[in-house]
């Protein structure tokens, strides 16, 4: 059913910390690794070892150059995956009912057995979170690792999304964003977590934590005065004598 459910009581999602992410791409690899063998069709690659490799990924990490006029320049690494929007346009445009949002926890999923691969949901998503798999002909997207978070056969500490579990800097956090007391909600409150492209009206569940402000080095060339040292005493005498030779 591609009508959206009423706002869910529980909103599972991710909080991504742009201050700590180092752009190592470990979450990209872990996501591809887990979702290549679990929920639904594998994430195929085309021409993987050839001249023009291409493939399906559910999570991608961009890098942006930030050069504020009054603070130090920096690179901000920016992971991009499905934000499990409350007002998900990708769900309502779907003609087949393959795209749906779970009423219980707000996770947005694709029923790959019903998908006709029309691609309209990918057009409707502002965030580029959906990719049509070229081999399977069906739409792929982040599942929030539903086959991990609910999976009783996994050890307790593994019942989080693969990207969260693997991130070496702890930049990805998973939890219930509808519960103001949850660790993720407190993190969002403390650090001023925000939505992406609020003007699109999608009301995402995921939040991003802004990079913390950094100071600027006032003196950009602290060694510069050393270049202009005049030798004195014996060294100065030697310098003068040798200079005359």
């Amino acid at each position: 059913m591609t009508s959206l459910p009423p706002p869910p009581a529980k909103k599972l999602g991710l909080v991504i910390d742009l201050d700590t992410c180092v752009g190592c791409q470990a979450c990209v690899t872990a996501c591809k690794g887990w979702n290549d063998q679990g929920h639904g069709a594998p994430l195929s690659d085309q021409d993987a070892r050839g001249a023009d490799p291409s493939g399906t990924f559910l999570n991608r990490v961009h890098s942006y150059e930030v050069t504020p006029p009054d603070a130090a320049a920096r690179i901000v690494h920016f992971p991009r995956s499905c934000l499990h929007c409350d007002n998900a346009p990708c769900v309502t445009v779907c003609p087949t009912g393959a795209s749906y949002k779970r009423a219980a926890d707000g996770i947005v999923l694709v029923n790959e057995d019903a998908c006709i691969g029309c691609g309209l949901c990918a057009w409707a998503c502002p965030y580029g979170a959906r990719e049509l798999d070229a081999a399977a002909g069906v739409m792929k997207k982040c599942t929030l690792c539903v086959d991990r978070i609910d999976n009783a056969t996994l050890a307790e500490q593994d019942r989080v999304p693969a990207c969260v579990r693997t991130c070496p800097t702890g930049a990805r956090h998973f939890g219930d964003l509808a519960d103001p007391e949850s660790a993720v909600s407190r993190l969002v409150a403390e650090r001023g977590g925000y939505e992406l492209m609020p003007e699109q009206g999608t009301r995402p569940t995921n939040r991003y934590l802004p990079p913390r402000p950094r100071d600027r080095i006032d003196d950009e060339a602290p060694l510069a005065p050393l270049l202009d040292i005049r030798p004195a005493g014996l060294a100065g005498w030697l310098d003068r004598v040798l200079g005359r030779l």
Binding site: L18, P53, S63, E65, P95, A136, P211
Partner: protein
């Protein structure tokens, strides 16, 4: 957006086909002399052929065309599903009207009125698939259904042999195209999405923000599907072709030449060529906000 030949052909052919079926149905209500026999067979046959060819072309756009019937299930929420229903309804409602007029015993005017309106509504429903997308600001505008309707009415009127009367929708379409190109150019900026809103890094960057490295060195589905850069000069030339061939020249030919098969065929060929140019631009010039993440538009 990627100008996929399957979707360009689908929208142009099915638009002209449903325009023709619609005006053939509405013809008697508009006071056109009902045609019968062979002429009616050819006209209705052409309408069905164009609409059918468009549908087949659209099938090539699907990853799993064998499941296409599932697209009928979500008419309550999805414009694409509604299009599936409208298409079937239009083809079914037109059939008895077509048969009766071919056999020379036309149905009451009301039957053609109903089938004709369903055909024209189908074109509007197709347009809503694009116009609903907030992610493509150029499309998210009333000019899109207006353009689709303009093309269906012009193409339909030319093909139905309305002669000089078809010059009126053609001229209106030409004006509409110029207006839509003008308005469309400002839509992305008006939507307010920028790299700063897409990443939320605006406050941290204070203006200094740009894409430093993409997430992948090769291409991917998103870039192939949604990011298409058209040369400005190329686009300007195609716009002129679309307006001239799609609207102005057919209007002149229909007004100047004596009504008949020659004027109709000439105007129809020019109009369809102009429609293809317009539709290529419709996709190629449409910028999806996801391009912002890649530092492109």
């Amino acid at each position: 957006m990627h100008p996929a030949p399957s979707v360009i052909l689908f929208t142009v052919l099915s638009g002209a086909g449903f325009g023709l079926l619609g005006l053939l149905g509405l013809g008697p209500a508009l006071g056109a002399a009902p045609s019968g026999g062979l002429a009616a067979l050819l006209l209705w046959g052409l309408g069905y052929a164009l609409a059918g060819a468009g549908l087949i072309a659209s099938g090539f756009h699907l990853g799993r065309p064998e499941r296409a019937l599932r697209a009928f299930s979500q008419w309550r929420s999805s414009w694409l599903s509604r299009e599936a229903w409208a298409t079937v309804a239009a083809l079914l409602a037109s059939a008895p009207v077509a048969l009766a007029s071919i056999l020379g015993r036309p149905l009451p005017v009301a039957a053609g009125l109903v089938s004709g309106l369903i055909c024209l509504a189908t074109v509007l429903v197709t347009a809503m698939i694009y116009a609903q997308l907030k992610t493509v600001p150029r499309w998210h505008h009333w000019t899109v259904p207006a353009l689709f309707a303009g093309f269906a009415l012009t193409g339909g009127a030319i093909l139905a042999g309305f002669g000089p009367f078809a010059a009126l929708p053609a001229l209106a379409l030409g004006a509409l195209m110029i207006l839509a190109f003008r308005i469309g150019d400002g839509r992305f900026a008006a939507a307010g999405s920028t790299l700063a809103t897409a990443t939320g890094l605006g406050p941290a960057a204070g203006g200094g923000l740009r894409s430093f490295a993409p997430p992948h060195t090769g291409s991917n589905y998103l870039m192939r599907e949604m990011i298409h850069v058209v040369g400005r000069r190329h686009a300007r030339r195609l716009r002129r072709i679309a307006v001239l061939a799609g609207a102005v020249l057919p209007a002149l030919i229909l007004a100047a030449l004596p009504a008949g098969i020659l004027a109709t065929a000439l105007a129809a060929i020019l109009h369809l060529a102009g429609a293809l140019a317009q539709r290529w631009l419709f996709f190629a010039e449409a910028e999806h906000v996801v391009g912002l993440y890649y530092g492109a538009r």
